[in-house]
């Protein structure tokens, strides 16, 4: 598994940079960079050899971990559904009650919520666009 893709697919970066003429000049590492990268690769190799082989946990322990995590996920999913139902029922019930008591107030609240949602969506879209332009994650 050492050097995952580099060994399996022959993707050694230094070699790739030598052979990949399609890449722009900007992406070609300078001689200084190449020497530095070689030093780093040597360092990582030393590190890989020096640090003892990590022992994977036994299968039964992993199976226990999986069973525990699945139980936790099922519980969380159940709670989320319950929470969703409670909120949805409260909102629908509240709106129906309000509509039956005073239809004008109900319509005004619906209008306000609609406008607020549109404003939020526009702001979100505008911010996302700005983020992409500036190149920040």
């Amino acid at each position: 598994m050492k050097r995952n893709r580099r060994e399996q697919e022959g993707l050694c970066d230094l070699n790739k940079h030598v052979h990949a003429h399609a890449e722009s000049v900007h992406e070609e590492p300078s001689a200084e960079d190449q020497a530095l990268i070689a030093q780093l690769l040597h360092g990582f190799d030393q590190m890989e050899q020096a640090i003892r082989q990590p022992e994977p946990p036994p299968l039964h322990e992993l199976e226990q971990l999986i069973a525990g995590e699945k139980r936790k996920l099922r519980k969380r999913a159940g709670l989320e559904v319950a929470l969703f139902l409670v909120i949805a029922l409260t909102l629908i019930g509240g709106n129906m009650l309000l509509a039956s008591i005073n239809i004008v107030v109900f319509a005004a609240i619906q209008g306000l919520v609609f406008v607020a949602m549109i404003a939020f969506a526009v702001r979100f879209f505008y911010r996302a666009k700005k983020k992409v332009k500036s190149g920040h994650a």
């Binding site: 893709r5 992406e27 780093l40 590190m47 640090i51 699945k70």
Partner: protein, 176 residues
């Protein structure tokens, strides 16, 4: 082919297949995490967290990349999230202690802890990660961008500036 079958079984909820998959990739994941964090204790924590995330998200794996690459993506994102959450001061203190331990471990095995590696440990994770993924693991800029959830242009500039910073650190070390 076997791995693909195991993944399909794991996606259908087979715990045994999932356990076998995790066990088969554990060493690779740990080695990546040790190189990424330079802190064996933190690497173990993140490996555990990655396995849990893998159990939760296995249904989202679409086979476009290798399973090991997908695991690296999960681990990288967990590490980045963790680093963002931890306060800088605490991060630095923990990292310093862990680095000394790692350096000692490497030296104890008669291996040379190069100046470049020493300089790399002082580089922020935002720059160290893309350098490791690009130059040691050989991933493409787009793949690293996807792993780190940043634009490919940012990956290129981080690698470029990271190497620049490393050279600067090495020059300072030489002068000292």
């Amino acid at each position: 082919m076997d791995e693909l079958k195991q993944i399909k079984r794991a996606q259908r909820g087979d715990s045994q297949a999932m356990a076998q998959l995790l066990q088969a990739h554990y060493s690779f994941l740990m080695k990546y995490l040790i190189k990424m964090t330079m802190n064996p204790a933190l690497a173990e924590d993140i490996a555990q967290e990655t396995m849990l995330r893998c159990i939760e998200k296995i249904h989202l794996y679409n086979g476009k990349s290798k399973f090991s690459s997908w695991l690296i993506t999960l681990a990288t994102r967990i590490y980045i999230d963790q680093m963002r959450r931890t306060k800088v001061e605490k991060q630095w203190k923990n990292q310093e202690q862990a680095l000394r331990r790692t350096e000692w471990q490497v030296k104890a095995r008669l291996a040379e802890w190069t100046d470049a590696m020493h300089a790399l440990t002082r580089l922020g994770y935002e720059w160290r990660l893309p350098i490791l993924l690009k130059h040691y693991y050989g991933y493409a800029y787009d793949e690293i961008a996807d792993m780190m959830d940043i634009p490919p242009g940012t990956v290129k500039s981080r690698i470029h500036h990271g190497l620049q910073q490393l050279r600067k650190e090495l020059t300072i070390d030489e002068k000292e």
